[in-house]
Each structure stands twice: as structure tokens, then as C-alpha cells.
């Protein structure tokens, strides 16, 4: 795991804020903790420009309670995966698109918009993915508080009980 540790050391050398926030999980796996937008972007640029993480395989969206999490899976020539994590508050879930650096992420970032309600700035124009036309606005099915039992597929409406609706900002 020498190569992995060397990469972690280089990240830590470059960015003081990464101390204790980046670690080798096992062979070929480097994980970070969730980072704020500005920090995340600096690290991602450095990983791409200087450390040879040329490929972005995916972005995994997660629900972190008050925040949304975005786990970018980058990999280099040796097949080492860097799981670089970004978070944004649900109250203002704005992130910047990374498709300028990694065009392969276009569809994956589009998915974050539909399923998690993220606002991805700079995403190229294109059809939404993967929810159908007519899906209720403001209803994000991969958030933990979204429950399929309140979704009526015949009328395409989401009708949570009053308490939940209040919590979610009246989704319908």
C-alpha cells in the first residue's frame, strides 16, 4: 500500500486542511471525509492536474441528514480509487459541475439533480435524467425522508402526511 500512502502524504502536504480527513482504507482505496465546496474543488483539481487521477467513474449521492453528500469516484492509471467527498446543506444544495474537467460525469451529475434535489451549476444543457416528465416538482426520491408509499403513480403526485409535508416544504 506504499503508492496509496504516498498519494495521501502528497495530498496532506499540499492541503493542511486534509490532515486526518484523508486516509488509505485498503489497497487501491483512498477515502476522504466530507469537504466543503471550496476545499473539495481545490483537491479535485490537484488530483486531476498533478496526481494523475484522469478518470472519474461516478458520483454517488447520499443523504447526510441536514446535508447532501456527493462522493466523486476518481481513479488513476494504477487503478487506485480516490473517493473524494463534498457536501452541501439541503437548505442551499448548490455545487459546481465538474464536467469541465471530467466530461464523463455529465449524466451522473444530472442524476443528483433529479434524485437528490442538488443544484449543479455549470451542467451542460440536456434532457433530465432519470425521472420521467411530469414528476412532481420538489420531490426527490433518494432523500431519506421520501417514502414511496406516499407517491401516487397514477396522478404523479407525492402526498406525504401534513407533518412531513411541512418538513419538506410542501412537496407536491
Amino acid at each position: 500500500m506504499q503508492a496509496e500512502q504516498e498519494l495521501v502524504d502528497r495530498f496532506c502536504e499540499k492541503f493542511g486542511f486534509l490532515q486526518n480527513k484523508i486516509y488509505v482504507k485498503r489497497q487501491k482505496r483512498i477515502f476522504t471525509e466530507f469537504l466543503a465546496k471550496e476545499e473539495f474543488e481545490q483537491v479535485l483539481h490537484y488530483a486531476h492536474d498533478e496526481l494523475g487521477f484522469y478518470r472519474a467513474s461516478h458520483v454517488v449521492g447520499t443523504d447526510e441528514g441536514d446535508d447532501l453528500g456527493f462522493i466523486y469516484l476518481l481513479s488513476n492509471e494504477d487503478g487506485i480509487i480516490l473517493a473524494l467527498k463534498e457536501k452541501a446543506p439541503k437548505s442551499d444544495p448548490v455545487i459546481n459541475s465538474m464536467t469541465g474537467i471530467y466530461p464523463s460525469l455529465e449524466q451522473h451529475e444530472r442524476e443528483l439533480v433529479d434524485l437528490f434535489g442538488a443544484v449543479v451549476e455549470g451542467l451542460p444543457e440536456g434532457p433530465s435524467y432519470p425521472l420521467p416528465d411530469g414528476w412532481p416538482k420538489g420531490s426527490y426520491p433518494m432523500r431519506k425522508d421520501w417514502d414511496p408509499k406516499y407517491f401516487d403513480k397514477n396522478t404523479m403526485t407525492y402526498n406525504p402526511p401534513a407533518d412531513d409535508a411541512k418538513k419538506e416544504g410542501g412537496n407536491k
Binding site: 454517488v60 487503478g79 480509487i81 432519470p130
Partner: protein, 410 residues
């Protein structure tokens, strides 16, 4: 179809019901004459919400859902999922189970690539080859049915190992099938190189250069046909691939012909792998007991599916249900590359270019007959075949003279 602006461009909407796919996807193709200048791909019509469903079911139930992500490469998904859970739970599967996983994975690659070769042949109007390859694919599916109990959605994997053992007669049948298939595959390779219907029709179509393949993050045979020697079986050996010699097949043509050659050569490689496994499979148990509750943690598990790198991200929270499951299937990684391949090409090449990334179909050989909601009967392969013979006889067609029972076929 609509005409737009002064530049005389035509926008052609194709799909969602598309001639080259049995699954829905929409393509908005902008044409200048016969040349494609822009392609907008719309997918997601088949999004079934599997990942949300996984969060409300336990790890064992999820295994059955994950197996159904894809009808063709279901084993690769259940392998990625199982080995992810095994890593979280700290389980080491028995070596015999690891070998069985490899045998089924390579059988799956064989039938998937044969299926693709048939589809590709069909797309360019070479239906004789389509029928040849699909006939040969049946040999592999029959073996999968013998080893796993089903032709697709094999259900061989379980958390901690595999569900079924293989016996000596099964291994012999696999060996016989591999011998018969090898000659056919060599013939197809010769065909691809020398038969102009293939070599001229496919050369230069759907170009994706080495640099573009890297930029758009394509995987599997699409990447390897552009010279990228990327194969998870070698980069990060899983199951028994650490002991099994795997030689990644690459090509430099970077077009549909290159993708065809890579897939055909990969089948020969799969046969070598299967033979190695049959010779070297160790004795022993086939599974270890797995806990129902999985310790909290997160894992990224990868396998090499027939279509390329398959990634599963799983996060557990210490309960019997996962907190998050995300499946990045290989076709998902290849769509962005397709857009680039289509642009600059010709309208007539659109179907084969799309087909060349090998989008998946699903098939099944078993039907459950429900009679008035009370009596149910599961028909196996033989009885289903007999039913079809009888049905055709009633229509005045006697198909009984065509003897193609599984055993006689080899």
C-alpha cells in the same frame, strides 16, 4: 422530423422505441445531409428505483434485487455486491467458491459476447451470422442452466460464497462445450478479419480515439479497442483471478471493427480461463456463514463485467439493511462516449454504433403458469420446449424433426 434554420439542418428524433435496442432510449439526431452533427441521448426510461428499494430491504433480499439489475450480466452484479458485503463483514470466502464465481463469470462473458456478436451482425443485415452466434450461445446457456439451475439470473452467488457446488460431470460438460465453442469462435475471428461484409462495413465506423476514450471515461471492450489495457480482473483481481492468468485483449483500431475483434478474442481468453479453473479448482466448502447484521462502514467493490468496469458503492449502518447502495453499471459509463462516436458519422451508422457498446437485453427460459389464480406450475426448459412443439403442431407445423436437445447438441 423537422427542418430548422437557414443551415438546412434536420432534427431526427429516434426512439424511445428504437430499432437497434429492445430497451427504450431516445436519440435526437441533428443531420446535415447524411452526416450527424449533434446527438442528444435520453436514457432513464427503465429506471426502476432499485437502489431506493435496496434501502428498505435486508442484505439477503437485496441480493435478489441486485441480481436483476441486468438480465445478461446478472452474475457480475451479484459478485460485486456480495464481495462488497463480505469486505464489510470481514468474511473470506472459500477458494472453491471463488473458482466457481470465476467459472460462471466467464460463462456469462461468453454468452454475453455471443449475444452481442449476433445483435451486431443483425444491425448490419448479416442475419446468417446472427443465427450462427445465437445458436452457439444456446450451448453456453444450457451449461449455465446445468451449473446454476437457470439460463439467466443464475442465482449462484450468496453472501459468503456460492449456493451450489459443481460436480465432476458438470466440469466435463463445461469442458466439452468449451472445446466445441472454441472452433466456432476461431471461425468468427477469421470471419471478422477476412469477410468484407464485416471488415469493410465496420472499419472506421463509430471512431473513439485513445484520448477521447480516456476523456469520456468509457470502459470494457470499448476502451480496450482504443488501446487502453484496462481490465479489473488484472488491475484489481477479485474472486480467484489472483491465481488465474488473465491476458487483457486490446486493439488499436478504435472503431466498431476493433470492438468486434476485442470481444471475439476475449471469448477465446474466457475459454482459457475456464479450462484453467476446471484443472485447478480446489476441494472444500463453498460458503461461509454470513451475519445478518453488517458492521457499519462503506465499500467500493469492482468487477469486470462483459461490458466493462462495474462499480458498487455500499454503505452499511450496523443494521440488517444497507444505508446506501449505488450501482454504476458499465453501460452507464459508455453513453457519453456514444454521443461523441455518433457526431461526425453517418446516419446509416447510427444503429451499429449504438449497438457496438453492447446495451443489454433480458431473456428468460422459465414461465410460471397461473391457472385461474389458484393452480401454479413451473415449466422447466424441456417441458417449455415440448409445449412449443405441440403448439406449432396444432398450427400445422411439425418441428419435431429438428433435434436440438441440449445433450445431443455437443
Amino acid at each position: 422530423m423537422s427542418r430548422k434554420g437557414k443551415d438546412n439542418r434536420i432534427v431526427l428524433p429516434i426512439g424511445p422505441q428504437h430499432p437497434s435496442l429492445k430497451e427504450p432510449a431516445s436519440f435526437r439526431i441533428t443531420l446535415e445531409g447524411e452526416k450527424v452533427v449533434n446527438a442528444v441521448i435520453g436514457v432513464g426510461y427503465n429506471h426502476r428505483g432499485l437502489e431506493k428499494a435496496c434501502e428498505s430491504r435486508n442484505y439477503v433480499q437485496d441480493l435478489y434485487l441486485i441480481e436483476r439489475v441486468c438480465g445478461i450480466c446478472s452474475h457480475t452484479h451479484s459478485t460485486a455486491y456480495c464481495q462488497g458485503i463480505e469486505e464489510l463483514a470481514g468474511l473470506t470466502i472459500p477458494r472453491r467458491a471463488a473458482y466457481i464465481r470465476v467459472i460462471v463469470a466467464e460463462l456469462e462473458r461468453l454468452h454475453s459476447h455471443l449475444l452481442w456478436l449476433g445483435v451486431a451482425a443483425h444491425e448490419i443485415g448479416f442475419d446468417t451470422l446472427f443465427m450462427y452466434t445465437w445458436r452457439d450461445r444456446e450451448k453456453v446457456l444450457d451449461i449455465l442452466a446445468e451449473v446454476c439451475g437457470n439460463r439467466v439470473n443464475y442465482g449462484i452467488n450468496t453472501i459468503g460464497g456460492v449456493r451450489r457446488d459443481v460436480d465432476e460431470s458438470m466440469l466435463q460438460d463445461i469442458s466439452k462445450m468449451a472445446d466445441a465453442l472454441e472452433d466456432q469462435i476461431k471461425y468468427y475471428l477469421d470471419l471478422a478479419m477476412t469477410e468484407t461484409t464485416l471488415s469493410v462495413r465496420l472499419a472506421g465506423v463509430g471512431k473513439l480515439s485513445y484520448d477521447d476514450a480516456l476523456r469520456f471515461g468509457v470502459v470494457g471492450p470499448v476502451a480496450r479497442s482504443a488501446g487502453i489495457a484496462d481490465d479489473i480482473r488484472v488491475t484489481e483481481p477479485y474472486a480467484a483471478y489472483d491465481e488465474v492468468p488473465v491476458r487483457p485483449v486490446t486493439d488499436t483500431r478504435a472503431d466498431v471493427l476493433g470492438r468486434t475483434v476485442v470481444r471475439i478474442k476475449e471469448m477465446l481468453e474466457s475459454i482459457n480461463i475456464i479450462r484453467f479453473c476446471i484443472r485447478n479448482i480446489p476441494d472444500g466448502d463453498i460458503a461461509v456463514k454470513a451475519p445478518l447484521r453488517i458492521p457499519a462502514g462503506e465499500v467500493i467493490s469492482r468487477t469486470e463485467a462483459p461490458r466493462g468496469e462495474n462499480i458498487h458503492y455500499i454503505r452499511s449502518n450496523g443494521t440488517d439493511k444497507p444505508d446506501r447502495v449505488r450501482v454504476r453499471a458499465p453501460s452507464e459509463a459508455n453513453w457519453r462516449g456514444v454521443k461523441h462516436m455518433l457526431e461526425g458519422g453517418y446516419l446509416a451508422d447510427v444503429p451499429i454504433t449504438i449497438a457496438a457498446i453492447d446495451p443489454c437485453y433480458s431473456c428468460t427460459d422459465r414461465a410460471i403458469i397461473v391457472d385461474s389464480g389458484s393452480r401454479t406450475e413451473v415449466m422447466d426448459w424441456q417441458s417449455l420446449r415440448q409445449y412449443s412443439i405441440d403448439w406449432y403442431k396444432k398450427q400445422g407445423v411439425d418441428t419435431a424433426s429438428a433435434k436440438v436437445s441440449a445433450k445431443e447438441y455437443f
